[in-house]
């Protein structure tokens, strides 16, 4: 056994991948195809996913229609066809009422996005803030918003400001939980790699922590945006707004027994909530793809 044994190896051999540790060489593009197949084994293909989603979307209205057709739940349950007709007939009234609701939702969501951006960076830089956030989310989450809104009306004038305040409060719980979650996700590995290279908290967050947090932010935003919308409607139910609002329409339709209008408002609310969910998912899509 001599050192010269090592010199006999040809130069080209070193550059070649180790058969056991490197996948077999593939033509250009082949590796990508193979990795897609490998990934696809665990995840259904796009057409299958679209089909499943479409089936799920169709299933609910179908169930709704079937239930309404039986008449088991009385004349108060309006079927989808009649609901769409009512939405069409009453569109100008419903839309006039929906606009302040959507405005309050968008405004509340924008405020919460700002809170998210500041909060995510704040807990990354000062992790000690995380328990405080957890406590806040528990307290806010335990408050019954319907009961709280009249109390808030004593301090804040009824109208858009009050509705937006309740909207923010209702979205605060998922946001606080999200921010606390990002603190944990962002810190993953910092004790090792971050400490090894003496990376400051902000630097670590910028290069690693933020990207580690993307799944948490994604889930948080998806929960936050519809929660905002629900909060707005709840605020309107409990009289936070003066005369306008989708929640107000629902309450008026209930007390004047106009089930078609109530269901039409409900359908619009559901569509708006779905759109917000889609918006959140769409906003996060590029980041999700990158971190997958």
């Amino acid at each position: 056994m001599t050192a010269t044994a090592t010199t006999a190896a040809p130069t080209a051999a070193t550059a070649a991948p180790t058969p056991a540790s490197v996948p077999a060489p593939v033509p250009a593009g082949g590796a990508t195809t193979r990795s897609r197949l490998a990934t696809g084994a665990a995840r259904p293909t796009l057409p299958v996913r679209v089909l499943v989603a479409a089936a799920a979307i169709v299933a609910l209205p179908a169930l709704w229609a079937a239930l309404a057709a039986t008449g088991w739940l009385g004349p108060g349950l309006i079927g989808p066809a009649d609901t769409i007709r009512a939405l069409h007939d009453q569109w100008s009234m419903i839309w006039w009422n929906a606009r302040p609701t959507l405005t309050a939702t968008v405004l509340g969501a924008a405020i919460l996005l700002g809170v998210t951006a500041v909060g995510v960076i704040a807990v990354a830089v000062v992790p000690a803030l995380t328990p405080a956030l957890g406590g806040t989310s528990v307290v806010v989450g335990s408050l019954p918003l319907i009961a709280l809104t009249p109390a808030l009306a004593l301090v804040i004038t009824r109208g858009q400001t009050l509705v937006t305040t309740v909207t923010v409060l209702s979205g605060l719980v998922p946001v606080a939980a999200m921010i606390a979650g990002t603190a944990q996700a962002a810190a993953r590995g910092r004790d090792e790699l971050g400490a090894l290279y003496s990376a400051g908290r902000l630097r670590w967050w910028w290069h690693v922590g933020f990207w580690n947090s993307v799944p948490v932010i994604d889930l948080g935003l998806r929960a936050m945006l519809p929660a905002c919308f629900v909060g707005t409607i709840v605020a309107e139910w409990s009289g936070a707004t003066g005369t306008r609002g989708l929640g107000q329409v629902m309450v008026n339709a209930l007390f004047s027994y106009q089930p078609e209008v109530l269901w039409a408002a409900l359908l619009l609310a559901a569509l708006a909530a779905l759109a917000l969910f889609g918006l959140a998912a769409g906003l996060m899509l590029p980041l999700r793809r990158r971190t997958r």
Binding site: A5, T6, A9, T14, T18, L193, A199, H207, R290
Partner: protein, 304 residues
């Protein structure tokens, strides 16, 4: 494939071959600590025959994790030395404190007693100067970064200018050049470990610490990576300390095997493998290898 280094293929990128030691045909770049402390010792010293050369010295080191019922002793009065440029392997039972010892050498933990130094430089200083590379048990690659950008991560974290030529060289010596723009999810387990190894070498560390880097791999891949590691360590001239559970791996890789007892970890025995690194492939199939393994297994059993 052969894993032996070609003579001209692995000189340090970005300039002429560094004035270091030659092992067989491998040009070993001079370790940075020796470059900065040229007068500190003979730079030509072979790792296996250090004599008075600069060493990684772990001297009477103890460490305990603080707990409610007092400190939980993890390392107790551990001492050993490893010549600069040498490859030391720590073997011992699970939970005995090997990884803690590695973190102490990295300067990630502070010993409660004793001292550690590499050619006179304390670990905390080495770490601050980005002269420590660490490959953790979990490669911990970032899925949103390509292989190249994962290797470049230490530059980003340490605010160092990117050394593209060196990264190219690392990609080359870890056989990842063709995969530089791939994402970690497209790589095999062995390739991921090689990326982690290349990342640990990114800042041209003087000491490379490996915490069971190949523990999750199958035997064949593991053996291949062992030989690659030997070549890479020779190629970069880095002092390397590796933790493993595998006695075979320890004998195959090490210049010095440090056998540790159960927690709190104490040195039970040290074993010198005085076989040139270039001959380790042949060593693996020899009766001598089996005898050395037996010897270390006996030491491990006696330590329990």
């Amino acid at each position: 494939m052969s894993l032996a280094s070609p003579a001209a293929g692995h000189t340090q990128a970005g300039g002429p071959a560094a004035p270091g030691e030659q092992q067989g045909s491998v040009v070993v770049p001079e370790p940075r600590s020796m470059r900065s402390d040229a007068a500190a010792g003979p730079a030509q010293a072979s790792p296996g025959e250090s004599g008075a050369g600069p060493v990684l010295r772990v001297d009477g080191v103890s460490f305990g994790y603080p707990g409610r019922r007092g400190a939980l002793a993890a390392v107790d009065n551990v001492s050993f030395t490893l010549p600069v440029g040498g490859l030391g392997v720590l073997v011992g039972p699970s939970g005995c404190g090997k990884s803690t010892l590695l973190r102490l050498v990295a300067g990630l933990l502070e010993p409660t007693a004793g001292t550690i130094d590499l050619a006179g430089v304390a670990p905390a200083r080495l770490r601050r100067d980005r002269r420590v590379g660490f490959a953790f048990q979990d490669p911990g690659l970032l899925s949103w970064r390509s292989v190249r950008r994962n290797i470049e991560l230490p530059f980003d974290l340490a605010r160092l200018p990117k050394d593209s030529a060196w990264v190219d060289h690392l990609l080359e010596i870890t056989n990842l050049a063709d995969w530089a723009n791939r994402r970690p999810r497209e790589l095999s387990g062995g390739m991921r470990q090689r990326v982690a190894l290349a990342r640990a070498l990114a800042t041209r560390p003087d000491v490379l610490l490996l915490d069971e880097p190949f523990g999750a791999l199958d035997e064949i891949t593991r053996a291949d990576l062992n030989f690659e590691l030997l070549r890479i360590v020779a190629d970069t001239g880095t002092t390397c300390l590796l933790v493993t559970h595998s006695v075979d791996e320890a004998v195959l890789l090490a210049d010095t095997v440090v056998v540790l007892g159960p927690r709190p970890c104490r040195v039970h025995a040290t074993h010198t493998v005085d076989v040139p690194r270039g001959d380790r492939r042949e060593l693996r199939d020899s009766a001598e290898f089996a005898a050395r393994c037996r010897e270390i297994r006996s030491a491990l059993e006696a330590a329990r």
